[in-house]
């Protein structure tokens, strides 16, 4: 058994060495981490149009978002007026939502974590566990492509045994300048469940960034959620009192 696994290990080392050169095999963990950090920045402020598309209908919400580091983020809806003021605060893996109509803050119970966020194709878990891709997976570069003349790494990420994640596999496409092009989610049969792709890469606030993100359910052409950045500012830091329950109630104070 042991011998066999050693052989398999060396075999995979050799294969990956042939495929992508030994350098990347060592660097892939850092590559993913750096890409996530690049995408997230130290801190950011943004205004995003979120379009939820379904076969029968479509609606667009405009969201103001602040993020800081890996743990903290605050979202609040500013349009349409009907939903104005609805907010979500995330600190670590905990989330609170605020509904101005009932003027109440609710801490999201575990039962709601797997439900969709604001009716979109993102689940609350997708937001709360955004670090999961770094912590809970082992990554391997399984191919390279080119995109706009730049090299793109195709990374296959398998969940670590016993990691509390539902996906059976994720596939990431990361450009050599650390831009996420896509993230695909597979079930345990390795069938595609949903995929997020970033397009319209352009310079925003001095940094190359995909302006449009689309989360698409597999096999359902007309069910997707699109995020379009209207404004995006990367910051060195944001004040800590921005990410509190009181600012959830009064955003943009």
């Amino acid at each position: 058994m042991r011998k066999k696994s050693i052989i398999i290990f060396w075999l995979s080392v050799v294969v990956s060495a042939i495929l992508c050169g030994p350098l990347y095999a060592v660097e892939v963990e850092t590559l993913v981490r750096d890409a996530v950090n690049y995408y997230r920045g130290n801190a950011s402020f943004s205004v995003v149009d979120m379009t939820i598309h379904r076969p029968g209908w479509e609606r667009t919400l405009t969201i103001k978002a602040w993020t800081r580091g890996e743990k903290d983020s605050l979202f609040t809806i500013i349009a349409p007026p009907k939903d104005n003021g609805n907010g979500t605060l995330k600190k670590g893996e905990e989330m609170w939502i605020f509904n101005p109509k009932v003027n109440r803050v609710i801490k999201l119970p575990p039962s709601m974590m797997s439900q969709s966020w604001m009716g979109s194709d993102f689940s609350n878990n997708d937001l709360a566990k955004s670090d999961s891709i770094i912590d809970n997976y082992t990554h391997k570069i399984t191919g390279t492509e080119t995109h706009d003349g730049k090299k793109v790494f195709v990374i296959t990420s398998m969940p670590k045994p016993d990691a509390p994640v539902v996906w059976g596999m994720q596939k990431l496409r990361v450009r050599e300048d650390l831009i996420f092009l896509s993230q695909k989610f597979y079930d345990e049969d390795l069938l595609l469940v949903k995929a997020m792709t970033g397009t319209e890469i352009q310079i925003i606030d001095g940094k190359l960034f995909p302006r449009v993100w689309k989360m698409q359910k597999a096999d359902k052409e007309d069910e997707y959620t699109m995020l379009e950045y209207r404004e995006l500012l990367f910051k060195e830091n944001l004040p800590g009192d921005l990410f509190t329950l009181s600012s959830l109630k009064n955003p943009g104070r």
Binding site: P110, P164, V165, V166, E188
Partner: protein
């Protein structure tokens, strides 16, 4: 003399006798058989209730039953365990469990379940799960990531043995506890609702996931004789103060089942009465006809010096024979149908979706309860004789003169 007279009289018109006897037979059979079916249903309900993680007595932290949240766990299980091993008779089986509401997730599905952390060895001797695993294997005590789920849940989640299931719940610190389990077993239960609701892991992994320490949600006790439940529950209450512990018997734990049991008791007797009323009219009618046919005969008997009371007795004897014959045959038939079905039961799985709602099983085994058999036979015999009194008195009232005038 009455016996001989009565016996000969009923066979003077065999066809009529057989028709009314058939009515009595069918009536008695229906009472016994349907009564046994209803008892079977209710017994199955009680058994289902008790083996579906209830037991005869349960100990909870005070307030857990009203609000089954993790904060209402028993944080000093050793107190409860000590009390149980001191008070319970040696042939009693008991176990401790962790039970919380949780959300199960896989890549495509998510849904609410009840996460039950069990001590595999002790649990197997108490609740249904010990024998229920049909695919894969039952939990082992040191299984850190194994989970057993119901067939219906597996179908709903499009999952199977060896696949992963992520459970999320609230931990004792108020945070979100999540843990990935591998499906190591799939169980079948009497009811689909049970298969959908419960997932089983080892108590140690549940405690670790929920940061419970040694804490437990409940202790469940299965007595050798369920009739002792109240007595033993009382002595447990004496040791475990009601301020911090709730001790309850299955009657309190399963209020719905208890209510249904009571209802069935009345329902069965009502059923007996309804059948009898239909049967009673037949009996009165037949005896009345037999009496009217023999007006001249009764007149003659009277003229010969027979007292009215003797005539009443004679007619009642006839009806007694009818009833007894019908009852004997009806009982035999009833027992035979019950025994014929005792092995296979009646499979209602075609209707099971509707029945499940009422907490009934897929297969019903009729159960004979002595009390019901006695009641059914008494109802037929006593009320049968009572209604026959009317034609009997009528027969006794004919005077010889009137009878002779009657042609």
């Amino acid at each position: 003399m009455y016996l001989q007279l009565g016996w000969r009289n009923i066979w003077r018109n065999p066809r009529r006798t057989i028709v009314i006897m058939t009515a009595v037979i069918i009536g008695v059979w229906a009472m016994i058989f349907l009564g046994a079916l209803m008892r079977g249903i209710s017994e199955q309900m009680v058994r289902n209730g008790i083996t579906t993680l209830t037991g005869h007595i349960q100990v909870h932290h005070a307030g857990f039953r009203e609000d089954p949240i993790i904060e209402n766990s028993i944080d000093k299980p050793e107190v409860v365990k000590a009390a149980l091993s001191r008070i319970l008779p040696p042939d009693t089986r008991w176990t401790t469990r962790v039970r919380v509401d949780a959300i199960a997730n896989n890549a495509r599905h998510s849904g609410g379940v009840t996460l039950v952390g069990i001590n595999p060895e002790r649990e197997a001797r108490i609740s249904f799960i010990g024998q229920a695993v049909t695919e894969g294997a039952y939990l082992k005590a040191d299984d850190k990531y194994g989970i057993i789920i119901g067939k219906a849940l597996a179908d709903k989640f499009d999952t199977k043995l060896g696949r992963k299931l992520v459970l999320m719940s609230q931990d004792t610190k108020g945070g979100i506890a999540s843990r990935a389990f591998r499906i190591t077993g799939i169980f079948r239960a009497e009811m689909e609702a049970t298969e959908k609701q419960f997932v089983f892991v080892t108590i140690a992994s549940a405690q670790k996931m929920l940061k419970l320490g040694d804490g437990i949600s409940e202790a469940s006790i299965l007595l050798a004789d369920y009739k002792d439940a109240d007595r033993i529950a009382d002595s447990l209450k004496g040791v475990l103060s009601s301020a911090s512990y709730d001790v309850q018997t299955w009657r309190e734990l399963l209020p719905f089942v208890t209510a249904v049991l009571k209802m069935y008791d009345w329902f069965i007797y009502l059923w007996f009465l309804v059948i009898f009323i239909a049967m009673g009219f037949g009996i009165v009618n037949t005896i009345l006809m037999a009496v009217f046919e023999r007006i001249r005969e009764f007149g003659l008997l009277k003229a010969l010096g027979m007292k009215p009371w003797w005539i009443v007795k004679e007619v009642l004897t006839e009806s007694f024979f009818l009833l007894i014959l019908g009852m004997v045959a009806g009982n035999v038939l009833g027992f035979m149908s019950v025994f014929a079905l005792a092995g296979t039961g009646i499979d209602l799985s075609a209707l099971s979706e509707g029945l499940e709602f009422a907490g009934m099983s897929r297969i019903i085994y009729p159960v004979i309860v002595v009390k019901d058999i006695v009641a059914a036979n008494l109802v037929v015999l006593v009320l049968g004789l009572l209604v026959s009194a009317y034609p009997a008195v009528k027969a006794a009232r004919f005077t010889p003169v009137k009878a002779m005038a009657h042609t």
